[in-house]
Structure formats: C-alpha cells, structure tokens
C-alpha cells in the first residue's frame, strides 16, 4: 500500500516538468479548423443572390428552436426569407441547421467571440447574418441546378436536368 502511495506521489510530482496543456486564450488564439461550428452566417450564391429559399428545414431541425423565419416570394418566382432570425442565446452550435439546409445557405463559421452584455443583442437578424460570399461552397447555386422554374429559366433548363416528361409520349 505504501509503495503505491509513494508511486502516485512520484507520478504526480513528475508533472511539474511537463508542458502545460492550457491554451491561454485571449493572449494565445487557438487554431480553429475551417469546419469549426461557431457563429452562423447566411451565404450568397456565386451571383451574389441570397441562397436561402425559406424552406424552414433548418428551423425544424434546430433542437432548441432558435431559428425563426418567414417566407416571401419574389416576382420572378424565387423564394426568400422575409425575415430570418437566430437567437444565439439559445443556439447550441450543433450544426444540424447546416446539415438540414438543401441550399448550403446556412453555414457555421470558426468564430465564437460573440459575447454581449445585453441578452437582446444576441438575437441576430437577417442583415446581421448575411455575408457577401458563398462560404465553404464556392460554385453552388441552388436555382441553377434545381427543377423549380423561375423567371428566365423554365422547366428542364436547369443544370443536368432532364426535359420534363411529355405526357403525349407516354403511349398509355
């Protein structure tokens, strides 16, 4: 028993000469990988248009229910959110919204320094969330590949999209 006590004393003592594992945060910035799940942004497609099509999938996927948005439709047939609000005081940075999003619109970024004195300031509106770039996916544009018809792009004109089935060909 005594030898095991002495052994643990010695083992702990040796740690005096080990390197500390602590990253002394504000002085030393830790490396965060690009896919780190931090502050959420809304990205734009390569043409500079908002990617979000207000499908609400992110809001459904979100475990603490902190995303709320309202759909509106442009004259050209595009859907977009009328407002898009994330309450970061409830967000748990789980990234499920990013997984759920069919258009790569919502993305998490390696930034976590978003402390506020006032809880109200943790509610980010669309203007606060939108960035001027495509985020992690540079080429993707939902309306270019999707089957949805918008002004200037009819059915079957999307990238890799087959022509719509002509009922008269079906020979029923």
């Amino acid at each position: 028993m005594i030898s095991s006590l002495l052994r643990s004393l010695w083992l702990v003592f040796r740690h005096l000469f080990r390197r500390n594992v602590t990253v002394q945060y504000p002085d030393e910035q830790p490396y965060l990988p690009p896919r780190y799940r931090g502050r959420i942004v809304l990205t734009r497609d390569p043409d500079g248009d908002e990617r979000c099509v207000a499908c609400n999938l992110c809001a459904v996927a979100c475990p603490p229910d902190c995303i709320s948005l309202q759909k509106t439709e442009d004259e050209d047939g595009r859907w977009r959110p009328e407002f898009f609000r994330i309450n970061f005081s409830r967000c748990i940075m789980c990234g499920l919204c990013e997984d759920a999003c069919p258009t790569y619109a919502i993305q998490l970024t390696p930034d976590f320094e978003m402390s506020e004195y006032d809880r109200q300031n943790m509610v980010y509106e669309k203007e606060d969330l939108l960035i001027n770039g495509p985020g992690k996916y540079h080429e993707y544009s939902f309306y270019r590949v999707a089957g949805k018809a918008i002004a200037g792009k009819g059915k079957g004109q999307g990238l890799n999209e087959k022509k719509p089935v002509d009922l008269h060909d079906l020979n029923l």
Binding site: L5, S8, L9, L11, V12, F13, H15, L16, R18, R19, N20, V21, T22, Q24
Partner: protein
C-alpha cells in the same frame, strides 16, 4: 521581563514580525497551492492578476471582504462568530514557540512542545463549535468527524514526538534544535517523523485527511454555513496550521535553522517550504480514505507504531547509558 529597552524593542519586533509574516505567508500559500496544484495537473493555475498571478491573493481578499457576511437565522450567533476566531488565534499563538533562527522567535518556553499541543487542541474547539453553532446537519457531521479524528490523531501525535524529546532531553524547542548539531533527528527518529507527518496532516484537516470538510459528501463540512471573512478565517487558519506543522517538523526533525553556508533563517524557510510543498503534493496525489478506514488506521497502526518507537528509543537510550 525584558531587561533593557533594546531587548523590549527586539521582542516587540519579533512578535509583530512573526505575526505579520505568518498571516501574509498563509495568504500567499493559497496562491502557492493553486499554482503548484495547477502545475501538477499540467495547467498554469491562477496567473492573470499581477506578476505570476501573485495579486490573486489580494483579489480574493477583496472579494471575501465585500461578500455579504451572512448569519443564518437558526445559528447560535455568539458561538458562530467566535468559532473562526479561535482557530486563527490558536494557530497564531502556536507560532510563538517556534524558534525560527538564533535570535528570531517570540519566546523560549521550557514546555514549548506542550504549548504547541495545547494550541492545536484548542483549534479543534473552533471546528466543533463552528459546526455545532451552524445548526446544520452537514456541518454537524463534519464537526463530529473533526472531533473524532483530531482526538484520536492527537494521541499518537504527542507520542510520536516523545522520541525526539528523549533524545534532546527537553521540551524546549530551541534546545531541541541545538541538540541536532551532530545530526538531524529525522535519521534516528524516522518512524517518529513519518507518524508525526501523518498526524500533522490529520490535525490540519488537509487532504487526504480532510474528512471534516469532504466537499463531495458534506458540501463543505463544518464551514458549510460560513461566508465572507468568517469563512476566510477558517481558510487562513487551515493554511496557518500547515505552516505551523511544517515549521514544527523542521524544528523537531530537520534541524531547524541549522545548516551550512546560508543564513539560518534562509535554511529554516527553505526546509519549511519544502514541507509545505509536500503537503500540497499529498493533496494533489492521494485519495481520501473512508471515515472508518481513517479511524482504524489511526488506532490500529499509528498508535502501536508510535508506542513501539517510544519503547525502542527509550530502550536504546537506556542501553547506551
């Protein structure tokens, strides 16, 4: 009675110097302990306030002073207030008999060692009274444990030192130090040293023998209801008792201020700091025993060993004449 004004000034300087040094050292020890524990856990510990985090002590003190000094309605107020004062007073009084260096030390009692025992026994009152006055079940459990633990460990704490007393032929700490000119007592009295060290840890309620506080089971044990500076006094009292036990071990077993080249006081402080570091290492490395293990260890192992030590030392001394 001091004969001349020079001696009187010397005495007053000694008293206040030691008092101040002890309290400051105890406060600093809170920082030292956290830093050392940090290093032993591969992290830096408090290092942000002031150089090396030294001012953390000041920050903590300010915090404690400005905290609400809460008196529970159900407590026995006079006893509740008195309890933390006792522990600090007893521990500070204990420093009176420690000879730090040839001319530093408050008083050379010819019963110095007994005086120390008296003071450390007084400190138990503080814990028990504080626990009782809190009128809280956790505190009471802590107090019960403290009483049982201290009473049983005090027994062989005293016995373990009798070997040293026999070798030196005196209870006077200064005489004991001077008797170690030809060799520290840690060699002939190693068993006594080990037993006293263990008993000392138990006396100061330090991990691994901190069952009276045992925060995992008893929230904070006897000082559950204490807050603000009253808690601070218990806290400083604990560190004072570490310092006291360390300086006593230095005096009794490590030759006090004796040592080549360096000035006596430096030797004393050096030995003492190493012991303090050992105390902290024990806290960092060892798990806490169960309460019944603690008691049976004390009565079934430590007491017989202390008696054996006494017997063998006495026998040898008689045999050599």
């Amino acid at each position: 009675m001091p004969a001349t004004t020079g001696e009187a000034v010397h005495l007053v300087l000694n008293i206040f110097g030691i008092l101040l040094a002890a309290v400051v050292a105890a406060a600093l020890l809170t920082w030292v302990e956290r830093r050392l524990l940090g290093f032993w856990q591969d992290r830096p510990g408090p290092n942000r306030v002031g150089p090396f985090g030294l001012l953390q002590v000041v920050a903590d003190m300010l915090k404690l002073f400005f905290k609400e000094d809460f008196l529970p309605r159900f407590a026995d107020i006079p006893v509740f207030v008195l309890a933390p004062v006792i522990v600090m007073a007893a521990m500070l009084l204990g420093f009176a008999v420690i000879p730090f260096a040839p001319h530093i030390g408050v008083i050379d009692l010819n019963i110095g060692l007994l005086f120390f025992f008296a003071m450390s026994a007084m400190a138990v009152y503080s814990v028990v009274l504080g626990a009782y006055a809190s009128n809280n079940k956790y505190a009471l459990l802590g107090g019960l444990r403290a009483a049982a633990q201290t009473v049983s460990y005090e027994v062989f704490m005293g016995l373990s030192l009798m070997g040293v007393v026999m070798l030196a032929g005196s209870f006077d700490l200064r005489t004991i130090v001077l008797a170690q000119r030809d060799g520290w007592f840690i060699l002939p009295q190693f068993l006594g040293f080990a037993i006293f060290l263990i008993a000392g840890i138990a006396e100061s309620h330090r991990l691994p023998f901190d069952l009276p506080e045992a925060e995992h089971e008893l929230t904070a044990g006897f000082h559950t209801e204490y807050s603000g500076m009253k808690f601070g006094m218990f806290f400083v009292g604990e560190y004072l008792s570490i310092l006291l036990i360390s300086s006593l071990i230095t005096t009794l077993f490590l030759g006090g201020w004796l040592g080549p080249w360096l000035p006596p006081l430096v030797w004393f402080l050096l030995k003492m700091s190493l012991l303090v570091a050992l105390f902290i290492l024990l806290r960092g490395a060892l798990p806490r025993p169960r309460y019944d293990q603690l008691m049976s260890f004390g009565w079934k192992w430590m007491l017989p060993l202390a008696l054996l030590n006494l017997l063998v030392t006495g026998g040898l001394l008689l045999w050599r004449g």
